[in-house]
Structure formats: C-alpha cells, structure tokens
C-alpha cells in the first residue's frame, strides 16, 4: 500500500481505529493532544465512542467499564497522566480486562517538562499500581513500527485479557514520517467475550460479574497464580527485539525508541571507521527481551545501555547479565535528546576493551 506522510500522534490515532477500537476515553495533556483531537473527529464518523473525561482517573475508569462490557478500548496520555491512571490499570489487570494505553512520555518527576523522555520505564515495567501485575509494553522506534504495534495491541490485549501499553517518547509523537497505514499485521484467533458484563443476562441465561475483589487470601493467591501463568506466557512468547550489527561487535549498545534511532546513526558512522559496535534494541520493554542476550558472539566485552533517563532500563540489563560483560551506562534526562556525536564519544571509551 501507498505510504502517507503523517504526524506520530495522528498516525497512532488512525491506527487505533484501524485496529478496531470501539471507544476512546482521555484527558488532554502535552505531548499527546493530537491523539484525542484526531479521535474526537474521526471516532464519531466511524460510529464509535469518544469521551473527554474530567480527569485521567475518570478516563481509565471509563476504560475499565467499557472494557468490562466487552468493547475494544483505548486511552492515551503522557507521564503525569499515566501516573494518575495506575489505580485503574491495577483494577483492569486484576479483573482480567483488555485495553490499550498509549503513553507519549515526557520529562519528570512531578510536572517535569514537555520534552521527550524515557523516564517512565520503571513506572511502566514495574507497575505504579498496587499488587503483582504486569502489562505488555511496546517501545517502538519508527512511526511504521508504532502504527503496526498499535493495531496489533488490540488483538494482543484481547488474547491475554490484559492491558497493553505503547510507550513512545514525545519525539515519535510529534515527528512526521511516511507510513503505510494498511500494512498486514499478525492476527489472533480470538474467542467470543462470553465473560463480559454486557447487560444481556436475560439473553445469556446467566449473569456476569467483573470483579478484582477476593476476600479469602487463598482464593486471592489462586487468582494471583493464575495471573502469573499469563505473565509467564507473555515472557515466553512476547519478547521482541532487534539485533543490529552484532555478529563481530565488541561493544553492544542497548537502547530503545528514539534513543535507538540515534544509536543507529552513531553505529553507522563508527562502522564506517571500522569500529565494531552493534545494537540490541528492545521492542518490548516488558517482557524485557532477555533472549536477546543469550547467544552474543565471543567478541562482545561491553554492553553500553543508552537511555533518555538515568539508568532505569540499565537495571534490567544488569539483572540479565550479572557477572558477565562490562556493563556501562550513558543517559540524558529532563527532555534533553543526546546528539549522535555524544554517543560516538561514549562508544569510543569502551573500544579496545580494557576499561
């Protein structure tokens, strides 16, 4: 199909419609405003639901209600707004409901700033809500990849009956890039949502309940173990990553999203000089792509984590690679986007291997 030039946020919004999104609930926040703005116009046109809620707290609870009654639901926000959604996300996971959440990350903590950041890594992968829970979290690099995972996320959420988050930084939300909106994406065979509280107990002949309360501790433990089985399945089946120029690398950068894009330019320049450097690019940040580190070539001596935050993903790199490799880190924070030259300089520090 033909590519069209689109702005990141608008492309994500259109991708949601193409992914079969029935309803959107959200609250304005920079740098994601083009998503609700686009949907406020186009959802109605497609006979779907758009509601601007009174807060992120209300928005995520509307998502919970709509998902509980069987709809495919989207909400989008940016970092401080996602913070407010954590209570609802925990309820949605606890009640085993599907939904898709877009997080166009900005700098924090607190009100922070509005420039691109990756500072929500811990919030996303560790869960800011209460209890043992996880969500599948994509951190795509290009607009094409972003659009594809937004579309696919609705199926994945339904398949696992669990929220899926797409975490991009403000750069991806705001940039324009050519994108094929109709690229084929993997589709899942999904069972009917016989569990949903649709207001059809008459037709169904039984009533459905959507609940996360389990007062008996043994019952709640059983529920947690059932959820854990799902998470294990996600860890087994949903780790996604890309390996770039790894074959003979001595230094391997670990970077995702816009940071990976910048790393790519740095690697290209360094390779032209003959420097042996590659990239592991996590596409999912939860589950973290442990598998990518399993069979690295003998030549690797240093893993250099790069982030637009101060060492959040680096903790995961350390957990996976305890006792092997020199584990180095470089990051910028607050919305400062590193320059390619800055990255090149960082890599040079480790070339040769004895540092």
């Amino acid at each position: 199909m033909a590519k069209v030039l689109m702005k990141g946020n608008e492309a994500m919004a259109l991708a949601a419609i193409k992914g079969g999104c029935d309803a959107f609930f959200g609250y304005p926040i920079t740098p994601q405003n083009e998503i609700p703005e686009y949907l406020s116009y186009h959802m109605e046109e497609n006979n779907r639901i758009f509601v601007q809620a009174e807060s992120e707290v209300a928005a995520i609870n509307m998502v919970y209600g709509a998902a509980g009654s069987g709809a495919r639901v989207l909400t989008s926000s940016s970092s401080p707004g996602i913070a407010l959604k954590q209570e609802g996300i925990s309820y949605i996971v606890g009640s085993e409901l599907p939904c898709v959440i877009i997080n166009v990350m900005r700098g924090g903590p607190g009100l922070g700033g509005i420039q691109p950041s990756q500072g929500d890594y811990n919030q996303i992968t560790r869960g800011g809500g209460n209890g043992d829970y996880h969500l599948i979290a994509f951190a795509p690099e290009t607009l094409q990849e972003t659009v594809d995972v937004v579309k696919e996320s609705f199926d994945l959420a339904d398949y696992y009956r669990n929220p899926v988050m797409i975490a991009v930084d403000g750069l991806i939300g705001q940039m324009m890039e050519p994108v094929d909106m109709d690229k084929e994406i993997p589709q899942k065979d999904l069972p009917a949502k016989t569990w949903a509280a649709t207001g059809e107990s008459g037709k169904r002949g039984s009533r459905n309940k959507i609940v996360s309360l389990h007062l008996d501790p043994y019952d709640l433990e059983k529920h947690n173990l059932k959820l854990k089985e799902k998470y294990d399945k996600m860890v087994e089946n949903e780790q996604r990553y890309e390996m770039i120029s790894i074959e003979d690398a001595e230094v391997v950068i670990v970077a995702y999203g816009s940071m990976a894009r910048i790393a790519r330019s740095a690697v290209k320049a360094l390779r032209e000089e003959g420097v042996k450097v590659g990239i592991i690019r996590p596409i999912t940040i939860w589950p973290f792509p442990e598998k990518a580190f399993e069979n690295l070539p003998e030549s690797v001596h240093t893993l250099l984590t790069l982030e637009m935050s101060l060492g959040q993903m680096h903790q995961d790199v350390k957990i996976v690679n305890q006792g092997r490799y020199n584990l180095a880190f470089y990051g910028r924070a607050g919305g400062v986007v590193p320059e390619t030259d800055e990255i090149i300089e960082q890599v040079r520090k480790y070339v040769g291997g004895n540092k």
Partner: protein
Amino acid sequence: MKTQTVYKPTDGLVKRDLSYCPGCTHGVIHKLVGEVLEEKGLLDTGVGVASVGCSVMSYEFFNCDMQQAAHGRAPAVATGIKRVRPESTVFTYQGDGDLASIGMAEIVHAAHRGENITVIFVNNAIYGMTGGQMAPTTLIDQKTSTSPRGRKQKDAGLPLRMSELLATVPGATYLERVSVHDPKHIRKAKKALEKAFEVQTQKQGFSMIEFVSTCPVNWGMTPQDSLEWAVDNLIPYYPLGVYKDATKGDDNG
C-alpha cells in the same frame, strides 16, 4: 379456597444472605432496588456498578450483570459501560464516603455530562465499612472514630448536601432524597426509584435517588434508635423531596 400470593422475595436479588449488619437499612434499599428492577423488567438488561463501602459485595446480590468499581469511581465506570452499551440499564450503588468524598469529581461530571445512568446514593453520614470515620456528610457534633469530640465546623466544615449540590448542575435530570425509616416512606422511596429508572429507560439522562440511611453499628445504637436518630437529626439537615425534575424538559437545556 383460592391462594393468592401477597408477598414473595424479589428475583431482583440473588437468593443468598446479605453481608449487612442486622437492622442496617442497606438491606431495605437493596430489596427496593431489586424489586424495581424486577417489576420493570430491567434485570435482563441491567448492569450494576458496585462501589467501595459496606455495599462492595453488592455485585453478589443484585441479580443482573455487575461490575465492581474502585473507591469513588463508579459513575466513571458506569459512563464507560453505558456509552458502549446504550441499550443496557446501568446503575451505581454508592455510599456517602464513596460518592461525596473521594468520588466527588466523578459524580459531578457524570451528572454534568447528563450520562443516562441511575445512581443509588446511600447516605448514612459515616464511613461504615472502615469502622465509622467521619464523612463529608457527618453532622455537626456527631461523634465518629475520627471526630471523637464531635464534628466541628472550624476543622471539618459543614456537612455536604449532595442532592442540593447536584441540583445546581445543569446536566442532571432527576434528583430526589428519600428515607426508609417506616413503611410509608419505604413505599415513597420505591416510587422514586421507579421514576429514576424510567428517566433512564426513556433516555432522559442522569438520575439519582439519595437514601437517608442508618449505620446502627458505627452510630452505636440499636436499629430502632438509629431510625429515630435519622428522623430527628438527619432528615432535618437532609430534607426529603425532589430536588430536580427536568423530565418535562424545562431545565434540560
């Protein structure tokens, strides 16, 4: 001799024990809601939203589809359901801590948007479930576990009147405050509930019935004394009656 059924338990409630303390009017209110849902044929399309409070388990009691909401968020959850299932009959069942404190934004904005849902608001002037702490609705000088010397205006302000407050919200359609302290008032309360659900089935927008309710356990009174205390103290501050009726279209903008 011909037998005639003069009373039977409502099919609107699941046949099981309720979780409420003996003599608590939550039980009476449940029965009324169940009867109205049954008699109006709304169980088959019903989706109830349980809130957080003593009625948290109400998803086990109302005999229709149910969803359990986080503390205060029931009107937002109900909004999500009703928007994607406009043919269903959506109601919330909320206490005064849930609706008038932590859930203030959600209730005001559901009314403000004119969501076509029915809210059952159980005002017992206290946080029942957590052991009797002060609520925004607790009366002046009323003793609770967090106002041990009685609520004082200088620290905690004056009790909030939610029906009156929501009557100022242009989007609300029907608001009535009722009581269940004697059979006459119980019958009246049932009529109010019928009206509220009619508002919804006729797609006329947001309706709320506020019940003056009791909490014998945390008020430290017998059930009978609680009813009397409610009549003597709560009803004078929370007068019964219709606070808004825009069903004729006079105030519906």
